[in-house]
């Protein structure tokens, strides 16, 4: 288990380092002078030169890359020039919206999808299976931002149960905050749940065809017990894979949904920073998201190893 962990961590770190080079290089070749953007078109050449010096823009590329990486490692993500505050503060401010949104969506989607998938597999070929999988097939095809628009129309415009957008902040209390996240999380969760339900069903069907399931049933073990104890545990691997991918997607993929609901999350922060060419913010957020994707993948791999000891040696 320890060598497996060590190797997994090492490849994760190598990927992260490579990713940092890519992010830095891409933003480096961009046209546009940050100093000019910060001071405006009418700035005097002297002021521009001073600011370039202050920002370290005159240093060689390697020096700037290394100092950027060292900054990231010590939690210094630089300063945003459009918000004139440290990037790390901006990220912290926005993560308290994006992270709960991602977690609620994932919980919601798992709570719907896994029971539906197991139920459909247990009633394979029956009406309940056909119906739920038909619904899942449609769910996979629904773009989450379109679903979000429909939800806003029904629940915010027509029934007026929840706000159509915006976020009051957690200072306004837990309930107003959660209330603003209900529609966005449902919009994110439903298409995800559709995918997860299909994966769960096919993984369960695969396992239910195995000999040890028949043996367990032949021994007189109750059907429910076989389904939840024996089959589900063995069907977990593909389900975990998709869950990991979906969580990583949710962390970054909220970018469109946050725009639909005007939520001040990480996605909206990075989207606005891109359009304003506030590159230091873009770099910081992208690196953070890449790091979280890599981290989630490592966690998923560790979960595999915990669920299935056979994978510990050769994964």
């Amino acid at each position: 288990m320890i060598p497996f962990l060590a190797r997994r961590l090492l490849t994760g770190l190598a990927t992260l380092l490579l990713a940092s080079v890519v992010v830095f290089a891409v933003l480096e070749i961009l046209p546009g002078d940050p100093a000019l953007l910060m001071l405006g078109m009418n700035a005097s050449p002297e002021a521009l030169a001073t600011l370039r010096e202050q920002l370290g823009l005159n240093d060689p590329v390697m020096v700037r890359y290394v100092s950027w990486i060292l900054g990231l490692l010590t939690g210094d993500f630089g300063r945003s020039f459009t918000y004139s505050s440290p990037v790390i503060d901006l990220i912290a401010e926005r993560a308290v919206v994006s992270l709960p949104l991602a977690v609620i969506s994932l919980l919601l989607s798992t709570a719907i999808a896994i029971p539906v998938g197991i139920f459909a597999a247990a009633r394979r070929g029956k009406a309940a299976d056909t119906l739920s999988m038909g619904a899942a097939q449609v769910g996979v095809a629904v773009p989450n931002f379109w679903f979000a628009l429909i939800l806003v129309y029904i629940f915010a415009v027509w029934l007026q149960l929840v706000p159509a957008g915006g976020f009051p902040g957690w200072k306004a209390g837990l309930w107003p905050g959660l209330k603003a996240l209900i529609l966005p999380s449902v919009a994110l969760a439903l298409p995800q749940a559709a995918i997860l339900a299909r994966v769960t069903r096919s993984a369960m069907l695969e396992v239910l065809g195995e000999d040890y399931i028949r043996t367990a049933r032949a021994k007189g073990m109750p059907r429910r017990h076989v389904l939840w104890r024996h089959a589900l545990r063995n069907a977990m691997i593909p389900v975990l894979t998709i869950l990991g991918l979906q969580f990583a997607f949710l962390l970054a993929g909220t970018i469109i949904i946050e725009n639909v609901f005007y939520l001040p999350g990480l996605g909206r922060l990075v989207f606005q920073a891109i359009t304003q060419r506030d590159l230091i913010v873009v770099e910081g957020v992208v690196m953070l998201l890449v790091a979280s994707v890599i981290f989630v993948n490592i966690v998923v791999d560790i979960c595999y190893a915990l669920v299935d000891p056979r994978l510990r040696s050769n994964a």
Binding site: Q137, V140, A141, S202, V260, I274, V293
Partner: protein
């Protein structure tokens, strides 16, 4: 979806018969064909000219004159959806083409060479998969300028590792077969073996993956256009129509309905087609989605 494989793996002759008895495949083919036909017809005929602005007819609800109603410029929504189909299909086809064109040779190369090349490809895949696809697509289109071409590139780049991985896995399972050994004994080189024996054997899984990526491409293009980063006006696109509809939801909810249906029906058709193809081409193949 629920159409289970009823017959064993068909030989070449019975492919059409097997395909036509698969409900998923038939439904998917029908829907996809309908959307493609709609896109083709839009080249020669649309009910109204999509560039024609009739301010007097703004935001009309569906009627006999305008089946799907009109938008905020008085343009016919049915006509815009027809032209938008052309656009969505073009973006998705080219993006899948980029992914296949680069990814499949890479995957085959890695499988044939093994060792360092294989390891490098796997690390490259790890790297691309570490970047959230949608975020990076937004980044690419925002940086290099919004537009259909950059949207195609942004979506296409993320198709490369997908096809590379599928091709590599497929090729690795074919290489140890006996007929490959026979071909090698006959003095054939790795490139020739890959073209003559590996590719035909992995074509079916590539085709299935292609339809999945096609559907994802349609969704991604709609998302980018919704953010204003994909296809630019006045060229109609489904995502852009949804963006325009959002601020007018209070007065004209039908504006959001039809472009959404267009996306759902198209993606649904492609997914059904992919499921059906998978069942027909290789019933033993696992459904992963």
């Amino acid at each position: 979806m629920s159409a289970e494989p009823t017959s064993p793996a068909p030989t070449d002759g019975s492919f059409v018969a097997a395909a036509l008895s698969n409900r998923s495949f038939v439904a998917g083919l029908f829907i996809t064909g309908l959307i493609a036909a709609m896109a083709l017809v839009s080249f020669v005929w649309t009910p109204y000219d999509v560039t024609q602005l009739v301010v007097a007819d703004r935001m009309k609800t569906p009627s006999a004159q305008h089946w799907f109603g009109t938008d905020h410029f008085g343009r016919d929504i049915l006509a815009m959806i027809m032209v938008g189909a052309r656009n969505s299909i073009a973006v998705a086809v080219v993006a899948v083409g980029i992914g296949m064109g680069i990814g499949v040779p890479l995957g085959c190369w890695a499988a044939a060479r093994g060792g360092f090349v294989d390891e490098a490809l796997m690390r490259f895949n790890d790297l691309v998969f570490a970047f959230p696809a949608l975020l990076s697509a937004v980044l690419i289109t925002a940086i290099f300028g919004p537009g259909a071409i950059n949207a195609i590139i942004a979506i296409g780049i993320f198709n490369i590792p997908v096809f590379a991985r599928v091709a590599r896995a497929g090729a690795l399972s074919v290489w140890p077969r006996e007929y490959i050994l026979a071909a090698r004994a006959a003095g054939k080189g790795k490139v020739l073996i890959t073209i003559e024996h590996i590719l035909p054997n992995i074509a079916s899984i590539l085709l299935v993956q292609g339809t999945i990526q096609f559907a994802l491409g349609i969704l991604a293009e709609a998302g980018l256009s919704y953010l204003g980063l994909g296809t630019q006006p006045p060229m109609p696109s489904w995502g852009r129509m949804l963006f325009d509809a959002q601020t007018r939801m209070m007065v004209a909810p039908h504006l959001a309905l039809f472009p959404g249906f267009a996306i759902i029906v198209t993606v649904l058709g492609l997914n059904l087609l992919g499921d059906g193809l998978r069942d027909v081409l290789d019933p033993r193949l696992r459904r992963e989605r």
